[in-house]
């Protein structure tokens, strides 16, 4: 089989923040009754993590579960293990009304790190990105300039950002422009 390629193919930019293609990552949309024991168990089996609270992300080693909406999660796992993870979910949820679908290739996934990461995002997203308001573990779906985007912050201070695959170049160029040297706002970090 051919080698899978991400839309940004490893792109990286270092400015006020470091913006880099996070590489191939498994992503699974799971829709179902998030309050049910079945879904909770299925997620545990699939990625070994709990279901996050509203607008939260729980992260594990190379895995995460993101709260997308009251009936939707996004499961993050290794790219190569997506089929297996979906199979696990399907097995665990047999007989339930649910939907588990591979969306790993539907998105571009970026890491945003460094002192200027908050400011870079705050130039593009109508979200309070101050240290007090946006803390590790939070997950936010919003708008980044003219496209939908979602991001969460890990304990190390790196933002994990996803948006649709087709706008990968746009998203990268946006972030790059926002992180150009000289554009320090000097308000966060």
């Amino acid at each position: 089989m051919s080698e899978a390629v991400t839309p940004l193919n490893g792109a990286r930019f270092e400015g006020l923040a470091t913006i880099e293609d996070a590489g191939l990552t498994g992503m699974i949309t799971l829709r179902g009754d998030l309050a049910s024991k079945e879904v909770k168990d299925a997620v545990q089996k699939a990625v070994g993590l709990d279901i996050p609270a509203q607008r939260q992300a729980v992260s594990g080693q190379g895995s995460a579960v993101l709260w997308m909406s009251p009936d939707e999660l996004l499961l993050i796992c290794a790219y190569d293990s997506v089929s297996q993870t979906i199979a696990t979910l399907e097995e665990a949820l047999k007989g339930q009304h649910f939907l588990a679908v591979n969306v790993s290739d539907a998105r571009t996934y970026l890491h945003l790190s460094g002192a200027g990461a908050r400011e870079t995002l705050a130039k593009l997203c109508p979200v309070d990105l101050s240290e007090a308001a946006f803390t590790p573990g939070m997950f936010r779906r919003t708008r980044m300039a003219q496209v939908p985007a979602a991001f969460w912050l890990d304990e190390a201070g790196t933002f994990h950002l996803i948006c649709f695959r087709s706008v990968a170049d746009y998203a990268f160029n946006l972030l790059k422009t926002a992180a150009l040297p000289g554009g320090e706002v000097e308000i966060y970090g």
Binding site: M1, S2, E3, A4, V5, T6, P7, L24, T29, R31, G32, D71, H97, F98, L99, V101, N102, V103, S104, D105, A106, R107, E119, A122, K123, L124, C125, P126, V127, D128, L129, S130, A132, A133, A145, Q146, V147, F164, R165, S166, V167, A168, D169, Y170, N173, L174, T177, A178, L180, P181, G182, G183, V185, I187
Partner: protein
């Protein structure tokens, strides 16, 4: 003459000189200067020309309210017209030119208008230039446009960048004067997250110029100490060079930060637009001094008294050696005192008040200054600069009592709070009789999302007078703001200086009984040349509403938006209408406070990131292989792939021929793909589509039509049933998000008890159309799976591995040939594309674009959403009754289609059109019918919906909607061309190619 004083000027660095040019003249200033102070230091009194009469104009103010001194700043791609010199920081190498004159600033032909001013009163153009009719467009209007307009346009290619910044705080304080500082401290100490913004480069506002003490220290020291304190607070953000530009609904405010205007060419963005969401907004925006209306008050050298003081104290610039001060209040005495203490001459202070001033007047007298009470200026003498004033009694009609030589006039008509930001979002004003100004009405603030007020005025912006009351008021504002945010205010306002001043007295016209000749020379709006007589004329003619008077005279419509002129103008209007000022009211304050660059509004969205460009996984290949793209929504799709010297048309023809003859590939990744899953999925699909979808078998595909609830066709596409519970819906390129939203809308809001989940997986897959007689062969080269005619029948789908990649293959055809669509994970899309090209080489494979696809579908008589449909077409119009289930009780749009007009047999219906001569029918042409309608329009009986040259048939083919079309096969219709001439076309079956579908069924 205006000049630089030695060793004064708290903001400038006398030890360093920087060079700049004005109209090519090389001049010198100091760091800390504004362009205004630097020009004045060089005795450049004349800086521009007015809008209508091209009168000489000098600097009249020292801040954002300046109406006159606008220049073209910079050069080349960084040129910017209409830049206010009073708010432009001087930098080394600055170049600027004056505006609105020809051939030169000193000698302007347009000034001839002044001589005719009497014949050009307010609104003269409504009464003239009426005949002869064509003259307006060709003679009068060009002349008027050329003489108006101020500066020249900027040039394309702006090299600077701009950005936005989203910021959230509890309390936004606008204005970094004493009031703003105090309000910020108070709110911050209560625990609120505070942002304080100031439009200039300096903190403290006017207070350091006027002096006084706060908290036992000189106010300038208090300002420094307070800034230091605020800088040390983690919950406070300070920004100078950042103007509060506008207040919008629900606590939204714009901060316009001029990051690099004073350092052009640096790597910083030029402007940053702060998009601030604040819980409470404190407007500590100060007050603006009003001019007095006397004859000749527009001559360069007549300046606001506060501005004269500012230039002396802040920049060490004196406007004149002999300055006459004219006032109706005590504050202007400060100017006289300041100048006198600097060793300059004050020949007289003319105080329009019969009773004169208070303690400050005594102080002035003590310094030996002559003070005349009850006096005013009858007329200023001079042309391009002040030469003297004629003094009169304020109570009289202007009889000259004495003439005094002077080279500057400092005037003060009282102060108006800056209420713009308060008013932008609906805050109401009340008239303060004692100070003759409008100030915020505390009972009627702008209201936020919770229905409570969210703007609090502070200090002079709230009508507070001396330092002590400003500080006290600001402290209260800070407390109120913090409290509204749920924080507990603490502390008391610091003590500050009080000053006992005699009451001001409103003076709207000087002298009070000025005759018409003086009133015609008494300016209200300096830039737009509106005089007292103009407003009075408007009132006489019935333009009584303040908005009528404004629009009729153009008062307050200049670039300063009436900061100096509005109150004076509406006082004159009220007087003319014999009604109190509050009854006249004000015009509406609109954002921005002062003009902000269009580019700052556009922000980062320019060039490559103007808008998102959506790209498929094969986009890079298309680009590298010469694709001629067309925008389709935010996607760019290859229209065709021209080779060598080939034009578009030849390329399209070649692609089609190659498809029909052998093999071609289409990047179909943009098609929408939506998963619909659940026990109620079939039922839901039946509601979405006009067809019956629930009966579709797993492994099979069905073409379907989707209508909106109003009955019109909105999308079409192929549905594949993946399993008993799951459908895969294909939509048009533009339909992916729309249809997904449409599905979720019905599921969430109408049928929320149905068990259906959807997921938009459009971008998960790269989709490649493989079309042509050799399509099966090429795929078979790349797969071991069976896709033979028996194994994968027409309208079937299956899962295979192709080029080592897991894929769904759909045997569907839009081109009318044997064809397949391969759907693979997007990250393998490019690999599959490459593999197919390589494997197809032996068949002469070619990629084809959207136009080839369009032509081929038209040859087959397939409709295209957006061509055959335009939002007014229902499936019945397209003879697609076969796709409308008769068995279903309901589907979206069904009831709508039962309405009288939709069920009308006279609706135009789809047919094929074949030109008699084989030419291509013009796109969008209409078929005429005899006669005209009641409005004299030519009757029509049909129109072309798609029209192409068919390379397959070697002739033009078209589809169209025609009145009773399907019943009129063989009839010939006439389609007029726009350039004359008629194309005749015969009504035919819309399927032009392979009517029996044999080609796709092999």
């Amino acid at each position: 003459m205006s000049t630089r004083l030695a060793k004064t000027g708290r903001l400038v660095d006398h030890n360093r000189a920087i060079a700049f040019t004005f109209n090519g003249k090389r001049l010198k200033g100091h760091p800390g200067d504004t362009l205004a102070s630097a020009l004045l230091a060089n005795d450049q009194m004349l800086v521009g020309r007015s809008f209508k009469y091209h009168r000489p104009r000098g600097i009249v103010a020292s801040g954002a309210e300046e109406p006159n001194a606008l220049v073209g700043l910079g050069e080349g791609t960084r040129f910017e017209p209409n830049q206010r010199v009073t708010t432009t920081e001087l930098f080394d190498g600055l170049t600027c030119i004056s505006q609105n004159h020809w051939p030169s600033l000193d000698f302007d032909i347009g000034a001839v208008n002044t001589a005719f001013a009497r014949f050009l009163p307010a609104g003269f153009y409504y009464k003239t230039f009426i005949h002869p009719r064509p003259f307006w467009k060709h003679v009068y209007e060009p002349f008027i446009r050329q003489s108006a307009g101020l500066g020249k346009a900027s040039n394309p290619g702006d090299p600077d960048r701009y950005e936005h910044f989203y910021y959230f705080c509890d309390v936004l304080v606008v204005g970094g004067g004493v009031a703003g500082l105090q309000a910020a401290v108070t709110a911050a100490e209560a625990g609120s997250k505070v942002m304080l913004i100031e439009q200039t480069a300096h903190w403290g506002g006017r207070a350091p110029v006027d002096g006084g003490e706060v908290d036992g220290q000189p106010v300038a020291d208090w300002v420094d100490a307070t800034i230091a304190k605020l800088q040390g607070m983690p919950n406070v953000t300070l920004r100078n060079r950042c103007m509060g530009a506008g207040v919008y609904d629900h606590g939204y405010a714009l901060g316009y930060e001029r990051v690099a205007d004073h350092t052009p060419g640096s790597d910083a963005p030029r402007h940053r637009l702060w998009r601030i969401r604040a819980g409470q907004i404190v407007t500590a925006t100060g007050a603006i001094e009003r001019p007095l209306s006397f004859a000749g008050n527009d001559i360069p050298g007549v300046m606001l008294a506060s501005a004269v003081r500012d230039y002396a104290v802040d920049f060490g610039v004196s406007i004149g050696d002999r300055t006459v001060v004219v006032t109706n209040n005590d504050d202007a005495y400060r100017t006289a005192i300041t100048l006198k203490q600097l060793g300059l001459e004050i020949p007289v202070i003319l105080d329009a008040r019969q009773s004169g001033g208070g303690a400050l007047a005594d102080e002035a007298r003590a310094l030996g200054i002559r003070v005349e009470n009850g006096k005013g200026i009858a007329k200023v003498k001079g042309g391009k600069r002040v030469e003297g004033v004629a003094i009169c009694a304020q109570a009289g009609e202007g009889a000259v009592l004495e003439e005094i030589k002077c080279d500057a006039v400092a005037m003060s008509g009282g102060w108006s709070p800056v209420v713009h930001l308060w008013s932008h979002c609906g805050g109401k004003l009340i008239w303060d009789e004692a100070h003759a100004h409008f100030r915020p009405d505390p009972a009627n603030p702008p209201k936020g999302a919770n229905g409570e007020g969210f703007v609090i005025p502070a200090g002079a912006a709230n009508g507070a007078g001396d330092l002590a009351s400003v500080v006290r008021d600001a402290h209260e504002a800070g407390q109120a703001a913090a409290k509204a945010m749920g924080h507990k205010p603490k502390g008391k306002a610091p003590e500050a200086s009080t000053s006992e001043e005699a009451p001001m007295q409103p003076v709207w016209l000087m002298p009070q009984g000025a005759g018409i000749k003086l009133r015609m020379k008494s300016w209200l709006d300096y830039q737009n040349d509106v005089k007292v007589s103009d407003v009075q004329l408007a009132a006489r003619e019935g333009y009584e509403s303040v908005e009528h008077a404004k629009r009729y005279t153009t008062l307050g419509m200049a670039t300063d938006q009436g900061k100096l002129s509005n109150i004076n103008g509406l006082a004159i209007l009220s007087d003319a209408l014999s009604q109190p000022i509050p009854q006249t009211g004000t015009t509406t304050f609109r954002p921005p406070y002062t003009p902000i660059s269009l580019s700052s509004i556009a922000g980062e969205a320019k060039g490559e990131i103007f808008q998102p460009i959506r790209k498929t996984p094969m986009h890079g290949w298309h680009e590298a292989n010469g694709a001629d793209f067309e925008p389709v929504g935010q996607w760019r799709r290859p229209y065709c792939f021209p080779k060598g010297e080939e034009g578009r048309h030849e390329a399209v023809n070649r692609e089609i021929k190659q498809t029909r003859a052998s093999l071609a590939l289409l990047d179909a990744s943009t098609l929408g793909k939506i998963i619909v899953k659940g026990p109620d999925a079939g039922r839901f699909m039946d509601m979405l589509y006009t067809n019956m979808m629930s009966t579709l078998k797993p492994g099979r595909c069905r073409y379907g039509l989707m209508c909106n609830e109003n009955g019109f066709l909105m999308d079409d596409g192929v549905v594949a049933r993946l399993d008993e519970d799951t459908f895969l819906v294909h939509t048009t390129t533009g339909g992916a998000d729309v249809i997904h939203g449409h599905m979720e809308d019905w599921l969430q809001c109408e049928w929320w008890d149905w068990k259906v989940y959807t997921a938009n997986v459009t971008e998960q897959y790269a989709q490649i159309g493989v079309a042509g007689p050799n399509s099966r062969k090429v795929i078979e080269k790349l797969t071991g799976d069976d896709i033979s005619a028996d194994a994968l029948t027409f309208m079937g789908w299956t899962e295979i591995t192709v080029a080592g990649i897991p894929a769904r293959v759909f045997r569907i055809s839009f081109a009318g040939e044997l064809s397949f669509e391969l759907s693979v994970p997007a990250s393998h899309g490019r690999a599959l594309w490459d593999a197919l090209l390589e494997a197809g080489e032996e068949y002469g494979v070619t990629p084809y674009g959207t136009e080839g696809m369009h032509v081929m579908r038209a040859e087959k008589g397939f409709i295209m959403i957006g061509d055959e449909t335009d939002g007014t077409v229902i499936p019945q119009d397209l003879n697609m009754d076969w796709a409308i289930s008769k068995k279903k009780e309901d589907y979206l749009g069904k009831r709508a289609q039962e309405r009288e007009h939709m069920a009308d047999p006279n609706r135009w219906k789809l047919v094929g059109l074949e030109t008699l001569e084989g030419e291509v029918l013009p796109d969008g042409a209409y078929a005429t019918a005899p006669g005209t309608n009641a409005n004299g329009q030519r009757n029509t009986q049909g129109r072309v919906t798609s029209t192409y040259h068919s390379p397959t048939l070697g002739r033009g083919i078209a589809m169209g909607l025609v009145h009773h079309g399907p019943d009129r096969m063989g009839e010939v219709l006439e389609f007029p061309k726009v350039d004359g001439g008629i194309v005749k076309a015969k009504i035919v079956d819309p399927i032009f190619y392979d009517k029996d579908g044999e080609k796709q069924n092999v």
